[in-house]
Symmetry: C2
DNA sequence: CTGTGGGCAACGTGCCGACAA
DNA sequence: TTGTCGGCACGTTGCCCACAG
């Protein structure tokens, strides 16, 4: 077993992972997508899957599994958070025996919590860290304003239980909260640059915790490719899943929320709700949640422009990213061109702005692309 | 293909890899050992193979392959050298068609070359780098001794073609060669500490090259385990080899000379010479080459104490590390307890010091462990 | 011949309020 | 409210030689 590493503080892990990330409950049923896992490997190695990967004809595009264990970890070098999940494929008959009680663990951000994106001044060697007023008042212990200037020593634990000590002072004209002594060693130790974020939490016992989120644009851990060829990694992912499916035995999956393009272990209930109760059709309008540069959530609107296999030769009929989509705002072009059904929230099409002729078309059989002329005319009309 | 990275300078690569490392020639026939490859993964991840790995009954413990390509690389973060080999399993009948012309590429260290282990003074922030006199005279361009003091600017390329600039000066009482300006940025950029080594080469065109060798004791790249479970990595290695063997198709192997406990791609001619022309038996005396702390070669003497499978359940009859050995010098205990036949040089047993009764024992059938009492008495007698 | 340490100058780090966005 | 800057003190870096192993 690889259980010799201790799990890290769950609240801090989720704060570092960001508001969009939730993990399925231990014991519940989930759907595991080898394709998604492979995409995470591709994102980590910067190598796409090429033609050398053998087919695993007995490996389905999705495996219903029981989630036996979730361990939360953080990379020792980079502090990147990741989750180690123990999965076990379940047989068809077992699937109906027990349905999971809920959809996901609490992914709510802690209450006494703040997250600030670092400025050039925060990360320069010239000075310290400027703490937003409200943040300092919410999560730091109150200062003694009788002292001149008011100051105290802060101690905060990171994901590895390393304690960082900062001098917290309230000074300047106008007055502001600053972290001075101790700040620069933290910045250089964690190799923070302007654009990265720092977050502080006050937990139940009043202890301070702190974590970091690197800027979305920054390359996360570029897997040192010196150990294993990316081919072998992709094969390893598929062969491990195929072996587990064939023998109904447990296997290990590492999920990197901030590297992986999408979650690939989905609560079964969420999956079923999306697949069985959503009438998806070309032209359907939907919303989808993304994390902004400022680490907040934002919904973007889009339209389904096609339904079909992402990789028809290897994974025919897979539900993984089988929806082609377009986005209303063409400006920020970092949004995916393909999504999966469970990632989106359908929006009841406002009949007012779309002629009934298009909106009421009979649903096309899934997996088949129809003539897109109608759709194009509709979209043009919408502009 | 993963050929988008450029190969690095071969001479410099071999200098960094060390004198013990040689690579098979491109085009030649080699023997590939999945077990050895797996051991490299274990060394990189610090995770031993556990029981969760499926068996690949169709995968032999050794594959005869043609070596189609060798690309020399270096890790961008750590400068660790590694080789990417393209292998293709060959059929039984093909094996005899062409025998490789030679045993290995030139692994001789370059002529105009020196390697110095860094002292505390070399790596401290207090000063520069003290260049051994002979080394400076052999590889650096000659100084103009009319100048007072004699000094010049040195430019040297590393494995990534990054140019480092140093001020080379000859001063002090007594006079000595020093690198001053530019040295400390190099030390901190490469994260060198006392005990690591730096090497300089003057190539054919008079250009200076430089590289590093980290101290043997220092942990090399600890694979950030956040991407792939070590189980999946081991499975990936085995499944990739099994697939290639089944389809006679090419596959990629990454060899890390300084991380891997042993080479696992061996020239076929070397393998055959060792296996067919060596009468191995318990009690046999041999020598084996190791790299010392000072980056030089040294031979150690040992005795074969047993012959048998390293992993009888998974790899029965494998020649990989099937010799159990003891070493004459018990002091330095970092030498392996098991070796493979092609790693050692048999020494004709001096009959003078061992009673003929032991030395002339009939050879035991390989793979079977005999009664060790005779051997033990012999070894005791030798002390 | 070369590793370490004292002396000393130059430079960078880091704390302060001023100012403005 | 908070990001950046000039001012300034102090600690570190880095070049020099002396000395000794």
């Amino acid at each position: 077993m690889e259980g010799d590493r201790r799990s890290v503080n769950s609240e801090l892990w989720h704060a570092c992972a960001g508001p969009r990330i939730s993990l399925p409950s231990v014991g519940s049923l989930v759907v595991y997508f080898p394709q998604g896992h492979s995409e995470q490997v591709a994102a980590s190695t910067l190598k796409e899957v090429d033609g050398h990967i053998p087919n695993y004809p007995n490996l389905q595009s999705q495996l219903v599994c029981q989630l036996h264990n979730v361990a939360l970890h953080a990379d020792l070098e980079t502090d990147e958070v990741f989750a180690q999940m123990t999965l076990q494929p379940v047989n068809e008959q077992e699937k109906e025996l027990f349905l999971p009680p809920d959809v996901g663990t609490q992914n709510r951000q802690p209450n006494d919590f703040f997250c600030k994106t670092l400025t050039a001044s925060d990360t320069s060697t010239h000075g310290g860290f400027s703490v937003p007023r409200r943040a300092a008042e919410k999560v730091f212990p109150p200062l003694d304003f009788n002292k001149q200037p008011p100051a105290q020593e802060l101690r905060a634990k990171d994901l590895h239980d390393h304690v960082w000590v900062f001098r917290h002072i309230y000074r300047g004209q106008p007055k502001r909260h600053l972290l001075t002594t101790g700040w620069s060693v933290f910045v250089s130790a964690k190799r923070l640059v302007a654009g990265d974020s720092v977050l502080f939490i006050r937990d139940d016992k009043g202890q301070l915790l702190l974590g970091i989120r690197r800027a979305n644009s920054r390359q996360q851990t570029v897997m040192p490719s010196s150990v294993l060829s990316s081919d072998s990694m992709h094969i390893g992912v598929l062969a491990a899943a195929a072996h587990a499916a064939a023998t109904s035995s447990r296997f290990q999956v590492f999920y990197n929320p901030r590297t992986s393009p999408s979650e690939f272990v989905i609560p079964l209930s969420k999956y079923r709700k999306a697949v069985h109760f959503t009438q998806v059709s070309v032209g359907m309008r939907f919303r989808m949640v993304f994390e902004t540069e400022e680490s907040t959530l934002r919904r973007y609107m889009g339209t389904v422009t096609g339904i079909g296999d992402l990789d028809g030769s290897r994974w025919p009929g897979s539900k993984w990213r089988n929806l082609e989509v377009g986005w209303d705002e063409s400006s920020a072009g970092e949004r995916p061109r393909r999504v999966s059904l469970w990632e989106i929230e359908p929006v009841s099409t406002p009949f007012l702005i779309c002629p009934p002729a298009f909106a009421l078309r009979p649903k096309r059989p899934p997996g088949l692309l129809g003539d897109d002329n109608d759709l194009k005319r509709c979209l043009t009309w919408l502009r």
